[in-house]
Amino acid sequence: MVSEWIRAMRNRLKVLRAERNWSQADLAERLAVSRQTINALETGRYDPSLPLAFRIGRLFGLPIEAIFQDDAADGAEPGETAK
């Protein structure tokens, strides 16, 4: 289980990757990052930088907000826990 100390966003990376039948290593190679980074993104242990998020969006042909969902944006003020 990932604690609140680390988890900030949910994402559809694993689903989008599976739809294309790519392994984590395949996706990592396409994004020029390590496989561990893909694993950390998919398991919610790491949020990408803005440049990496844009690269992911471009690769899947989707806007960033279609891939990443920010729980904190659902009505919560910064510093509050999302409902």
Binding site: A32, R35, A40, R45, Y46, S49
Partner: protein
């Protein structure tokens, strides 16, 4: 059916993994054991201060880890295992530069271990035969430190953003924890309620602290 096939495939792979791990363990363990045996024979380590004992233990850990990474990074199969220990096959070629990246990490660990062990080895072995070797060993440590700094910068430059985050968070956690420890200890020392510690004691605590901090961050970021 598919499960059976998967299990049949799993068996030789697991057996191969055990054989490879045993071979690598022997390759690293035998020379390490020899060195540790020589040190133990040269002097009774139990008579050394706690910080020298801890420094030697940390140094051996760094050297063993560095040697393991270097051995794995030397072959295509080993590189694949380093990249993904659970990969469906170990034949996927690593990206150009990945082997060099792992070798850089191995070199950093080997140098860290050697530099941490050097003063203790000097006190235990060299000092008894060549008391004037101190400045020479200090010069070697300085050269090693300069080289390690350059290697650390190279590792940072080649790391992707997650690894850079892990390095930065480890350093931050280590600083946050140890500045408190050292501040409180220094207060206690000034007030006469705690014994004085040497700079070598402090360095050993810091190295151990960084090892613990980086392990925590490593696992929390899913890299374990």
């Amino acid at each position: 059916m598919n499960g059976d096939v998967a299990m049949e495939r799993e068996r030789p792979r697991s057996a191969m993994r055990i054989v490879v791990m045993t071979a690598v363990g022997l390759l690293v363990g035998l020379p390490m054991g020899w060195v540790v045996g020589k040190v133990l024979k040269a002097a009774d380590l139990r008579t050394l201060p706690w910080s020298d004992q801890a420094a030697m233990a940390l140094a051996m850990l760094f050297i063993a880890t560095g040697a393991l990474i270097a051995i794995f990074a030397a072959t295509r199969r080993g590189q694949a295992i380093l990249i993904d220990p659970n990969a469906p096959d170990y034949d996927r070629p690593a990206r150009p530069g990945v082997a060099a990246y792992y070798l850089l990490q191995a070199a950093v660990l080997l140098l860290a271990g050697a530099m941490l062990a050097a003063p203790v080895v000097y006190l235990v072995i060299v000092n008894t035969t060549r008391a004037d070797a101190g400045p020479t060993i200090m010069l070697a440590v300085l050269v090693g430190f300069a080289l390690q700094t350059a290697l650390n910068l190279a590792v940072w430059r080649r790391s992707d953003e997650l690894m850079r985050r892990v390095i930065a968070e480890s350093a931050a956690l280590c600083f946050w924890a140890l500045q408190g420890v050292f501040f409180l200890w220094a207060c206690g020392e000034r007030l006469g309620v705690l014994p004085a510690i040497s700079s070598w004691d402090a360095v050993t605590v810091m190295m151990g602290g960084y090892l613990i901090a980086s392990t925590i961050v490593f696992y929390r970021r899913g890299l374990g």
